[in-house]
């Protein structure tokens, strides 16, 4: 088991619940129902999934955390574990840390409690969920568990029943009735136990709350940004975004093509965008590796595209179902030649909407490739969030209009952006080219053309005003934490905890990874004499990248760990408090 120095002091008012089981136990279904029911009751929450490598019948876990404010990361340990069985528990048990205060409700039919759980000091309680379920017509153990958890955590059973009836409607009346009876039986059992674990309920109404996954949020951001064409090749953990987008693109006047491979996907979106339609592809690490030549083409031909990479453990096929931030290097440096492009990353599940919408805006405004780095942790987590504000961007692709004199597609301009003629525009036809070219687009091997076009493509990115969106900055302490992506949630929580202990720490979570706003970053770091870089990599990719771009204080530490275990707020808190004690 991974040893983590932990500082759990003042963990926020939250409740963490893990549901584990294998072979069709239905833990993900129960997790989703619980999250929704809690949300309707007024709680915020986050559910992430941990799955093994099997398509069916494998072990899986639904990991939930409820709080009275938006939840952007998992907790330090779990208060309640419901286990249907323990098969292959060793594969995910690291992801479910327990303490002596934890409760483990396990079905004795599911086998002996494994040593790491039994030895954690957690209180074990056998509950015969399968046996109970068998006594009920159309009964299922997971519905017993749902009733059990609901009553222990104080969720309103009326809400649970309503949500379950709705979600099981397609399974028929018998299934709904069976589930209802199981929930009631589970709730009875729960009430008979001496366990009290309240779900933290937020103040205020729930009218303006959403439940959304990171993959859905990225897809929505793309639609809001104006993407009307997508192409992609199935890959874990990004396929869900493509599946979400396909019908919705069709409903918004666009379309999605399932391509024959990632090489096709990226070139399809270059073609669509050349035709004037904002376009995007979605992939994961192995797909991004295949796409890099096509992304370089978009950069050289100045064709706007957005590429979303939902990162997973690498290298090679790696750990497809688990999260890591290790595609940073390929996103930054993957292209051959000098291909300035934009790399952005959402800082939370909900922020994926804004960040992808912004990515489309940047691609269209700058006529370049924008890579969005999401990851499995965010993408497959479902979050209860406040309704995100509507953001409008005004700038759009600069296009050339019919009648333009002596049109030059790649004309040198003050800001490096030149007007793009959209096919169909009379009199402005040109050939877009991935070969180095002159201002007209005619291939050129001349040093002058090469230098001018290199400068043009670099200048349009470096001179652009990225506004306040380049990073999320909070606080003013002399300690600064630099982080990005899905680590941000845990860092934010750690900073809140240390603040409660009287230590002021500032957060700098980069949304814009490239080009790095070094001037703004230096300003943000002003007065910080200690810096902690937090990332989910083995080789400290983010740390080395920052080191190469800005002068960090001598007292700069790095908390880096590869996937699949997400960094917890407690670990980061411990690191921040280490020198303050």
């Amino acid at each position: 088991m991974y040893h983590r120095p932990m500082n759990q002091a003042k963990e926020r008012n939250s409740l963490s619940v893990a549901l584990v089981g294998s072979g069709g136990a239905g833990v993900v279904t129960v997790g989703n129902l619980l999250l929704e029911a809690a949300a309707v009751d007024g709680s915020y929450g986050l559910m992430r999934r941990s799955a093994g490598p099997q398509i069916r019948g494998g072990e899986s876990a639904a990991l939930l955390r409820f709080a009275d404010a938006p939840v952007e990361c998992g907790g330090d340990y779990y208060h309640l574990v419901i286990a249907f069985d323990w098969r292959h528990a060793e594969r995910f048990i690291d992801e479910i840390p327990l303490t002596a205060a934890s409760w483990v409700l396990h079905d004795p039919a599911g086998g002996d409690v494994p040593e790491p759980i039994a030895g954690s000091g957690a209180r074990l309680m056998p509950i015969e969920m399968q046996t109970q379920a068998r006594e009920i017509e159309y009964g299922r153990a997971n519905m017993i568990a749902l009733g059990l958890v609901s009553s222990i955590t104080g969720l309103k059973l009326t809400n649970i029943s309503r949500i379950v009836s709705r979600s099981l409607a397609t399974k028929g009346e018998d299934a709904v009735a069976g589930a209802g009876a199981c929930i009631a039986r589970g709730a009875d059992i729960g009430r008979s136990l001496d366990i009290e674990l309240p779900i933290p309920i937020a103040q205020g109404g729930v009218d303006d709350r959403w439940t959304i996954t990171g993959n859905q949020a990225c897809g929505l951001g793309a639609l809001k940004g104006g993407v009307r064409f997508a192409a992609g090749y199935p890959i874990t953990p990004a396929s869900e975004m493509l599946e979400w987008l396909a019908p919705r693109l069709a409903k918004t006047g666009g379309c999605l093509i399932q391509a024959e491979d990632e090489l096709a996907a990226v070139n399809m979106i270059v073609g669509a965008s050349y035709g004037g339609v904002p376009a995007m592809t979605v992939t994961s690490g192995p797909g991004l590796a295949l796409m890099t030549e096509g992304i370089g083409l978009a950069v050289a031909s100045e064709t706007p595209i957005v590429v979303i990479d939902v990162m997973r453990g690498g290298p090679s096929t790696g750990i497809p179902t688990k999260s890591e931030q290790t595609d940073l290097n390929i996103a930054l440096y993957g292209m051959h030649g000098e291909a300035p492009h934009v790399v952005v990353a959402p800082v939370s599940v909900a922020d994926s909407i804004f960040t992808v919408q912004w990515a489309v805006h940047l691609a269209e405004s700058l006529q370049t490739a924008v890579i969005v780095l999401s990851d499995q942790l965010m993408a497959q987590s479902r979050m209860v969030a406040n309704r995100p504000p509507d953001v409008g961007f005004i700038t759009r692709r600069v296009t050339a209009q019919a009648g333009a004199e002596k049109y030059r597609r790649y004309a040198l301009s003050v800001d490096g952006v030149s007007a793009m003629a959209i096919p169909g525009t009379t009199g402005l036809s040109y050939t877009a080219d991935g070969l180095e070219h002159d201002e007209r687009g005619t291939p050129s091997t001349g040093s002058q053309d090469h230098l001018q076009q290199l400068e043009k493509r670099a200048a349009k990115l470096s001179g652009f005003d990225y506004g306040e969106h380049w990073a999320d900055i909070e606080g003013h302490g002399s300690i600064a934490v630099l982080t990005w992506g899905s680590c941000t949630g845990a860092v934010k929580e750690a900073i809140r905890r240390v603040a409660e202990q009287g230590v002021a720490v500032r957060l700098i979570a980069l949304r814009l990874l490239a080009p790095l706003c070094t001037q703004r970053l230096n300003q943000a770091l002003e007065g910080a004499n200690r810096v902690l870089v937090v990332e989910q990599t083995f080789s400290r990719q983010f740390y080395h990248y920052l080191r190469s771009q800005v002068d960090l204080p001598v007292c700069t530490q790095c908390l880096a760990r590869p996937g699949p275990l997400p960094l917890s707020p407690g670990e980061i808190t411990a690191m921040l408090m280490a020198d303050e004690a």
């Binding site: 439940t211 409903k251 096709a264 376009a279 096919p423």
Partner: protein, 278 residues
């Protein structure tokens, strides 16, 4: 008075960029055939997009006055498919060479045939890689030893473009010769007017690396089958397999549903957002 009104003269479709092709290259004939075919259809240049990959023949877009994209090696069909899907109103032509289309781009060729999008693919086949100095291509004979890269030949069976297109589901398959631009122009018109994916393999000699191909003009002949083109895939397969690859003509035409975007009831983004509300 002019029999060819300026508007539709083939020269209208030619740009002022001078080809880098070696004098005597078959690709000049293909360029002329393309411009003649566009002129015959009186297509406004801005309604046409010519997409290519990398290689000698892939330089063709810049030599025309239609909208062009000279992309990366092997991916022209994918780029063209994206453009056609996003802009169904455009006439999309994709052009390239045998290495581009059948080797590095082989997978896209198969799937473009299957997908049956309404676009035309013209492959200028000279059985050699010209721009990298004369290496064997997928269509090169197995015993061709003139490349230092394969000094004893490739020992690999040459790729059979027409037969493979047929098996992959192309709905218009033809073979032509670059030395007959008028005949090729007619074939391109037929291909462009065919609803669905049309594929023309153009035998286009390389005077620099395959000087023996100068004899092609003496070998090429029309398919000796009265019933061509056929709509019977089994019969077309028989023609392809029995032929030595030097017979020209439209080999296969089939009416099959063309790829098109699914038309759904349009909704606003706000309607989509509603699904996330509690």
């Amino acid at each position: 008075m002019n029999p060819l009104p300026d508007k539709s003269h083939p020269k209208v479709y030619k740009s002022d960029v001078k080809p880098v092709w070696c004098p005597g290259c078959g690709d000049f004939g293909v360029l002329n055939a393309i411009t003649k075919a566009l002129a015959s259809q009186r297509l406004p240049p801005e309604r046409v997009a010519l997409i290519s990959g990398i290689g000698c023949s892939s330089r063709v877009p810049a030599y025309t006055k239609v909208y062009g994209f000279h992309g990366i090696h092997g991916r022209a069909l994918a780029l063209g498919a994206g453009l056609k899907a996003a802009r169904p109103d455009l006439n999309v032509l994709v052009a390239g060479g045998d290495g581009d289309g059948f080797s590095i781009g082989g997978n896209h060729f198969l799937h473009a045939c299957r997908r049956n999008m309404d676009m035309t693919y013209i492959v200028m086949d000279n059985e050699v890689y010209g721009m990298t100095k004369g290496q064997a291509s997928p269509t090169t004979a197995p015993d061709w030893t003139q490349s230092e890269l394969t000094p004893s030949g490739t020992h690999a069976r040459p790729f059979q473009p027409a037969a493979i297109a047929l098996a992959a589901g192309a709905t218009f398959i033809a073979r032509a010769f670059s030395g007959k631009p008028n005949t090729l122009a007619q074939m391109i018109v037929l291909a462009m007017q065919h609803p669905g994916f049309s594929f023309i393999q153009v035998l286009s000699p390389c005077p620099t690396f395959r000087p023996e191909q100068k004899d092609w003009k003496n070998i090429i002949r029309p398919f000796a089958v009265d019933a061509l083109p056929t709509g019977d895939p089994a019969l077309a397969a028989l023609h392809c397999q029995r032929d030595d690859g030097m017979s020209t003509g439209v080999i296969y035409v089939e009416a099959r549903p063309v790829w098109r975007r699914s038309n759904m009831q349009e909704v606003a983004i706000e309607d989509i957002e509603r699904e996330f509300r509690l």
